[in-house]
């Protein structure tokens, strides 16, 4: 079975976020990057499938040179191969453009199952995975916390509000967008990291995929114009002083609530 995992490299969750000079994104120089946490759960779910039987796991990511490190991490965790779409024309492509690129890779690979994280922690968009499924004509399910594979289908549990779960059966080929907390993500072992150095990372451009005229940023229908720190409301009373002073003020307020 050919399993493809789409992953995105995003700023580290503790990275300092400063808006860049022209206000169009954050400053990316001098910050650490990591695999989007939702995608780590997706990689893990794919690797469990591989552990259980006969699956080849191919991880795919789109982005500049720094993305190689994210792909090597996934290879270190146990993925078999990686594909890196590294093309300046794809920089700043919107969700649909990225989805077209991932769908083209999935077609070339003959993917039976595509995993992705539910959303990226930078844009929080949760846009791309269902788009990829639509472009391929695959059924899809998002926010998945559990997968159960049989020969021709996958039964998944989708997270709904309030802790409820929706059980859906998807015939293969299909796409599954994994929710955070679906599993416990494995660390890349030292042996895995060493082996990863020898695993293939195929680098492609949009032209290689026949997408130079259809999936580059030039075709964007959606544009992020400005990014900024939101104006703060001033409804919160911010307490200041020493720990004892602050704690004293808190105790007073708790008394006023009638709770002490």
């Amino acid at each position: 079975m050919k399993v493809m995992v789409c992953l995105k490299q995003v700023p580290h969750q503790d990275a300092r976020l400063d808006v860049n000079a022209d206000g169009t994104w954050i400053q990316e120089d001098n910050i650490k990057f990591e695999i989007n946490s939702y995608d780590t759960y997706a990689v893990e779910e794919a690797l469990r499938l591989k552990d259980a039987g006969d699956a080849e796991v191919v991880v795919v990511s789109i982005g500049p040179d720094r993305v190689t490190a994210a792909l090597r991490t996934a290879l270190g965790m146990g993925a078999d191969r990686a594909i890196h779409v590294n093309d300046p024309a794809a920089q700043g492509a919107d969700a649909l453009g990225i989805a077209k690129t991932l769908a083209a890779v999935a077609k070339e690979e003959g993917a039976d199952v595509i995993f992705a994280g539910l959303m990226a922690e930078d844009d929080n968009a949760s846009a791309i995975p269902p788009m990829v499924a639509e472009l391929l004509g695959f059924p899809s399910a998002t926010g998945v916390l559990a997968t159960d594979f049989s020969a021709d289908t996958v039964t998944v549990e989708r997270e709904l509000e309030g802790g409820a779960l929706e059980v859906v059966e998807l015939p293969k080929p299909c796409l599954i967008a994994i929710q955070s907390g679906a599993n416990q993500v494995r660390y890349a072992s030292l042996k895995g990291i060493m082996q990863a150095k020898k695993k293939p990372v195929d680098v492609k451009t949009l032209a290689d995929l026949g997408l130079a005229e259809s999936a580059s940023a030039a075709q964007n229908k959606t544009t992020v114009n400005k990014v900024y720190v939101p104006a703060k409301g001033d409804t919160a009373e911010i307490l200041s002083g020493s720990t004892d002073e602050v704690v004293g003020q808190l105790v007073t307020k708790i008394k006023e609530l009638g709770l002490l």
Binding site: D94, L96, V227, G233
Partner: protein, 318 residues
Amino acid sequence: MGTILVVAEIQKGAIREASYELVAAARGIEGAEVNGLVIGSGVGDLASEFASKGAGKTLVVDDPAAANYNVDVWSKAIKAAAEASGADLILISNTPTGWDVAPRIAAGLDCAFVSDAIRVAGGDGGYNLVRRIFNGKLDAEVSTSGQTVVSMQPGAGTTYEGSSDGGTETLSADLSAIAKFVEIKIAASTGVDLTKADVIVSGGRGVGDPEKFPEIIQPLADALGGAMGASRPVVDAGWLDHPYQVGSSGQIVAPKLYIAAGISGAIQHLVGMKASNFIVAVNKDPDAPIFEVADVGVVADLFDIVPALTEAVKAAKG
């Protein structure tokens, strides 16, 4: 401006509030004609209600195949409605249904897509939207060109309170599906019912490791006669079980006092606790979104504040 198609979502036999937030957003766009869409089985009355409470002329896809949410059924129904109404803008709520189907609609129509928008307005040949990124730390202004699908963040806007005199119109569509609905599983109750607590003390990722929950967070909850809660990352990491989770996919709470320690305030968490009577937030990061809903904020290390507060509360109780 053309037609705006507002897609309703039904929850527990009623059209949910978030759908009326979409109506308000649509009616806020100058010069647009608003149409509604209701999908389900036996939903004629709900469709009439939607049509009279702001959605305008409402298309109804009423079919046993639509009795339960199904991504293929909804995808086909919405595309058929978009075509029938000539909609230039399609609005849906960013709920588990919305984030499941809305991107597929946009890809199927080969059009612009913006998710989790908090504001929408007409733009130059398209639409202008505002949405939050980096888990609520930054805002982004986005513009689209041409036909656009937008999912809107539930709770971000007001609900429409007026009326409209649209009627309903049955829409037939091929609703054949590849995906198959099996069942809904409701979470079994486990005895951790945070909705009954007068006081909740919740810890987030800032608490740092699982041992600190029984060591630091639980004692404050106990001193105040309340319950301990957690944000999603804590549960994802396996530090506490799901019943402790406060948020859109956990418990929605509104206690007399909610203390959030080391919680940044991502929207999924805020949805779960912002209705609390009094909110105290303790976080080292002065820009944490949690301070936007707090009544009182303390920008400090929770390991300094929380144990000291626990001792002070015990002393006050005598």
